[in-house]
Symmetry: D2
Subunit: 341 residues, 4 copies
C-alpha cells in the first residue's frame, strides 16, 4: 500500500524520535518549566527575529486555535476566517464552544483578501445597531491554506495593515508551515510572519513531530495568564518537556527546513507526474497537498493500492482528490504511484 | 413626531397594564409558582391544542432563543438558520456564546426551504470525517421572518417532515407571532405550529406585553431541568407572576388576536399608501413590517417628522427603509404619514 | 393569610406602578437608549457622589451577579464569597456556568472578614504551584447579607483596602440595599459604597420595583463592551426604558429611602413582638429579614394563617424560621401576627 | 541530584519507548481509528471484565476529568468531591470553566465517605427551593487519593451503592492507578473499579507512559458523541495511535502491574528508611507518595542534593514534605537518600 492520505499517518521524524530516546531518563520539572522548553523557545524567537516575545507549546491544532482565539478575543467578539478555514469547518465547532462566532468570508482558494476584511469591518462600524451584531475582533488565516495555497508577502502585508487600521488582531495558523516556507515561489519567511501578525503557530504535528505546535508572539502582553488558561482547558502536558525536546530538535540544524524541502520535492514530483499523464489540477498548489480531478474509474483502481482522500463526495464521472506528502514520503513511493496511473 | 421605527417603542397594551395594576397588591409565591402562570399556561396549551405539554415564560427573545437552543442541542451540535435569521445576525453572538455554531443557509426573503435543509443534512451524513464537522441538530425559523414574510402551512409541513426524517428538532421563533397569525393570506394557526415543531415561542414583548415570551412545547421531556437552566443563566424573574398575568391577559378575550389584527390593518393601510404613491416595495410583506425603497430626498425629508429605520446603509439615490406598526399604532398616524410622502 | 415569606411577593410600589402607567404610551428608542434611563443614571450617580461613572440597568440579581462577575474577572480567576453568599448557594451555579470558581470562606453571620480575605490571598501567592490553583480575582459581599446582617463602615473599609492591596476587585450585591441603608445603627451610605468598591448594585426587585437592579461603578473602564455582553447573555430588555422609569421613580423624592424605612419599621415591630413573647433570635438582624427559633408546635399553628419560611429542615423540638417585611408590609399585619404567637 | 519530586519527571518506561520506536514508520489512519487503539481497547476491557464497554484515550488528567464530567453531568448539576480532590484544587478551575460547581466535602485523608455523600444528597432533595441550589449529579473520587491513601473495597461498594440509590454517577480518577492496584493491603482490582463506577480512568502519564489516560466505561450510552466533544475541546490527537501503542504496551505482559510493583517497593523502602530514622509520617500512605514531617534543618540540608516537595508552606520548626517514587526510581537512589537523612 502507498500512503498519501494525509501528513499525520506516521510517527515522528527519526531525529525527533532519537532526541526523545536520548533524553528519556533525564529528570526535569514538569509543565514546561524545563531547559528543553527554554532553549526551544529561545531558538524559535531567534529564528523569528523577535527580541522580547514568547513561545507557548501546545499539543494540537484545534487546541491551539481555540486557546489563542479565546485569549485574544473579548467575550463578544468574533473571528473573521475564510469559509474554508479549518476553524470554520473541521474543528467540531471548537471556536463556538469557546463562545465566539466565526465570521466567514467566501473564498475560492482558501485565502481571504484585505479588501474583503476591510469591507466586513466597514459594514460593522457603519451599522447603527452594532452592539447587537458580533464585532470582528480578529482575522484568522492559514499558511499554507487548507487548499495548499500560499499568501504572498504583499498579500500578508495588506492584511496586516488592514488589521492594524481597524485595531484587531491577526493570527496565522501554521499547521503545515514547514511546507509553506519551503514551497517554490514562496516569498514569506518566519521573520515576516512574526512581524506581520500578533500571533502565529509553527506546526509540529504535521511537520515532523509526534505532536505539538509552537505559538509565537511578539506581543506577550496579549497572552496574560495564558498558562493558566491552557491548564484550565486541559491543554498542559505534565511532561511539557516533550514539546521542548521536539521543537529544539526541529530547529536544530534546520531540520524543520529540511522536512519542508523533502515534502515539497516529493509533492512536486507527484504533481508533475499527474500533469504529465494529463490529469487536471483542482487547484495549482505549490505545497505538500496536491489536488487533482480524476476519472472515477482511475480512482477506484488506485484505491486498491493507494491511500488518498476524496475531496468531497464522489461525482458522476470524475471527482476531486487529494494527495499529501510529508517528511516521511519516499521518492520510490511517488514513482510506484506514477506507474499505477 | 410619528413613530414607525419598531414594535417595542411603547409600554404595554392598556388591558395588560390594567391587569398588572389590578393584581399589584396580591401576594403570591415567586419564580412562576403562582396561579396566574398556571392559568396562563393552561389557556395557552388549550389554544395550541396541546394536551400534555408545557409552557415556560421568559423575558425576551434573545434569552429565549439562547435557552431553548442550549437545552435542545447536544454540546457539539449546531443549529441551521437562514443567514438573515435573528440568531445569526442580531443577538450579539448569543448562540455561539452558549457554545453552538449557527449553520446559516442563504436566504433572499428570510425563509429557508426544506430542500436546502435536506441537502445540508445529506452533506453532513455523507461525509466520512463527520465528527470534525458540526452536526446540525436543530432547525430554527422565524414566523414571521425578519423580512416580514410568512411560511405557508405547506412549507412548514415540509420543513417539519424533513426534521423528523433526520431526527433533529424544529424550533420556531415567534417574536412577532401575533402579526403573522393575523396576516391576510396566512394559513397557519397556533395549533399548526404546536403540531409541526418541537418548541416555539409566542412573542409578548413586540405584541402587547411590557415584556415576555411564552415557550410552548408538546414535548416536555426535551425540557428536563429547564427551570434550573433558566435560573442559572439569570433568566428567572423573582416575580414570575408578571409574565403569567400578562399572558393570561393576552389570551383572554382574544386580545392577542385583536392586537395582531390592529397592527395588520394599519400596516396594510400604510402599504397601500406607499404603493399608491408609486413607491417600490423591497419585499412584499403581509405582516406588520413594511419595506420600501425610497428616494434619498424623501427619506431625508421624512426623517424630520417620522421615526423609521434605514434597512442597511444609505445608497446612492434610493435606499431601503422599514416601517413597523404594532398594537399601539394609530390610524391617524398612518394618514398623517401619507400626507408627508 | 398574612404574608412574610419574602420580599418579592407583591408587584411594585404604587408610585412605581403609577410612573409605568403614566409613561405607557410614550414612544422611545429601545435597549436603554431613552431619556428615562439617562435621567435615572444621572440621578443615581449624583446620589452616589460619582462624577464619571456609569450605571447599567439589569433585570434580576442572579443575572446581574453573573454579568458583573463575568466582565470583571479574567478567565481563570475565581471570586471569594462567604459560604452563605447568594452566588455560592442560591443561583443554580450561575457563576460556575459562567466559568468561575466561587472560593468560599466560612461565615457564621453572612459576613466575611478582611483578615480571612487576606489569608486566602497570602496562601495563593505563597504557593509555588499557583497557576494550577484558581486565582482569587474578586471579593463578593452582600449588603445586607443573606442573614440580615450589615457590615460596618470600618469593616467595609478594611475589606476595600485589602482588595486594593492585592489588586483585586470588590463587588457588592445590594439586592436588599434599601433595607440596609435604612437600618438602625447602619453607618454606611451610598457614597461610601460607591467609593469603597469597584462596582455594586442597587436592588430594585426586592425594594419596590416590579423588577430591576442598577449596577453602579466609578470605574467604567472595567465595563468595556458590557452592553454587548448583556445582550449576548439575553439580559437586555427591548423596552429598556422600563428600568429607567422605575429607577427614576425610586430615586425621586427619596422613595428608595422611604421604602427602606417602612420595611425596617415593620421589621423592628415584628422583632420586638417576638422578643417580648420570649422567642430566641437565631441572629440579631437590624434589617428586613428577621430570624427566630420557634417551637415546632408554634410553627405548625402559625402556618395555618401566616406565610413565612423555615430556615432549613425541621428539627426535633424547635426550628429556625425567617420573617421578611418590605415596602408592602402593613403595620396591621404585624399586629395581627403578634396576636397569633 | 536525587529525584523524588513527583511521578512525571522522566519520559516513558523503556518498553513504551521501544514500542513507539518500533512503530514509528508504520502508516495508520488518524484520530484513534487505528489497530493499536483497537487492540489496546480490547485488552483493557478484557482486564476490566467488561463485555460491551468502551475505552477512550486522552492525553492528560485535567483534560480527562473535564471531558468526562462535562459529558456525564447535565448543565445545572455539580460534582461532589473531597475538598482535597484534584478537580477542586489543582486544575485551575477546569470543572468550573466547563460550567459545573465542585461541591466539596471536608476530608482529612483525601477520601470521602458514603455517609457524607448521602447526607449531601438528603439535604439537597429535602430542600424546598432546590432548583436554585446546584444539584449533585456525580461523585468524583481519586484512587489513590492525593494523600496517597486508598479506599477499601468495602468503602467503594458503599459509595457505589449510595450513588445508585440517588441515581447519580460515580467517576474515579485513576491518575496513579498502577500505584494503587499494587499497594500492599489493597483489596480493589480493575474489575472491581469497572463494576462499581460508571467511568474511571487508568492513568498513563504518571504510570509509565509519555502521556495518556484511558477512560473506561461499561456504560457507553452515557458517552454519546464523546469523540466530537473531545475534538471540540481540543483533546483529540491527530496521531491517536500514540495512545493506542502506549496502552497496548502497558497492558502487555503485565507491564502496568510491574510498574506499580516497582514504585511500591521503592516507596516502602523509602518509608521504612524514614521511619527507622525516627521521622513522623504526616499520613500513613501505602502507595507511591510518602508524606513525612521533617525538621526544617533536615529539609534545608536535603534540598542541596535531593529534589522533593514541601507539602504546604514552611512552618516554624518542622514541615510536611512529600517524596514520590515511580517506574523510574532506582533502589540505589533510595539507599543514597537514606545516607543523607
Amino acid at each position: 500500500m502507498l500512503y498519501f492520505s494525509t501528513d499525520y499517518m506516521r510517527g515522528a521524524h527519526p531525529e525527533v524520535m532519537a532526541a526523545l530516546m536520548d533524553t528519556n531518563m533525564v529528570a526535569t520539572p514538569g509543565y514546561g518549566e524545563d531547559d528543553y522548553c527554554r532553549r526551544a523557545e529561545r531558538k524559535i524567537l531567534e529564528e523569528c527575529g523577535i527580541r522580547d516575545g514568547k513561545v507557548y507549546f501546545l499539543e494540537g491544532g484545534t487546541q491551539t486555535n481555540m486557546l489563542v482565539i479565546t485569549r485574544l478575543l473579548d467575550y463578544c467578539d468574533g473571528v473573521i476566517a475564510a469559509d474554508t478555514g479549518h476553524i470554520n469547518v473541521h474543528e467540531s465547532g471548537a471556536i463556538e464552544a469557546a463562545g465566539h462566532k466565526v465570521i466567514s468570508l467566501p473564498s475560492e482558494d482558501g485565502k481571504i483578501k484585505a479588501t474583503d476584511i476591510n469591507r466586513c469591518l466597514s459594514d460593522y462600524y457603519g451599522d447603527d445597531t452594532y452592539p447587537h451584531i458580533v464585532k470582528p475582533g480578529m482575522v484568522y488565516i492559514t499558511f499554507p491554506t487548507e487548499m495548499g495555497t500560499l499568501y504572498t508577502l504583499g498579500e500578508l502585508e495588506d492584511i496586516s495593515e488592514t488589521c492594524r487600521k481597524w485595531d484587531i488582531t491577526l493570527y496565522i495558523d501554521g499547521a503545515r508551515l514547514a511546507y509553506g516556507l519551503a514551497a517554490e515561489g514562496n516569498d514569506v519567511t518566519l521573520k515576516d510572519l512574526a512581524r506581520l501578525c500578533d500571533a502565529f503557530y509553527i506546526g509540529g504535528t504535521k511537520c515532523g513531530a509526534l505532536f505539538g505546535e509552537a505559538v509565537v508572539t511578539r506581543r506577550p502582553e496579549l497572552f496574560k495568564g495564558f498558562f493558566s488558561l491552557c491548564k484550565q482547558r486541559g491543554a498542559v502536558l505534565s511532561k511539557g518537556r516533550l514539546l521542548g525536546i521536539q521543537f529544539e530538535t526541529l530547529f536544530n540544524g534546520n531540520l524543520y527546513g529540511r522536512i519542508g524541502q523533502h515534502a515539497i520535492e516529493t509533492a512536486m514530483l507527484l504533481k508533475d507526474g499527474f500533469r504529465s499523464k494529463g490529469y487536471r489540477m483542482l487547484i495549482d498548489s505549490p505545497t505538500n497537498q496536491q489536488f487533482f480531478i480524476l476519472p472515477n474509474e482511475i480512482i477506484e483502481r488506485l484505491q486498491e493500492n493507494v491511500a488518498f482522500e476524496l475531496w468531497g463526495p464522489m461525482r458522476e464521472n470524475e471527482t476531486p482528490v487529494r494527495f499529501v506528502t510529508d517528511w516521511s514520503t519516499r521518492r520510490e513511493d511517488i514513482i510506484e504511484l506514477m506507474l499505477l496511473i
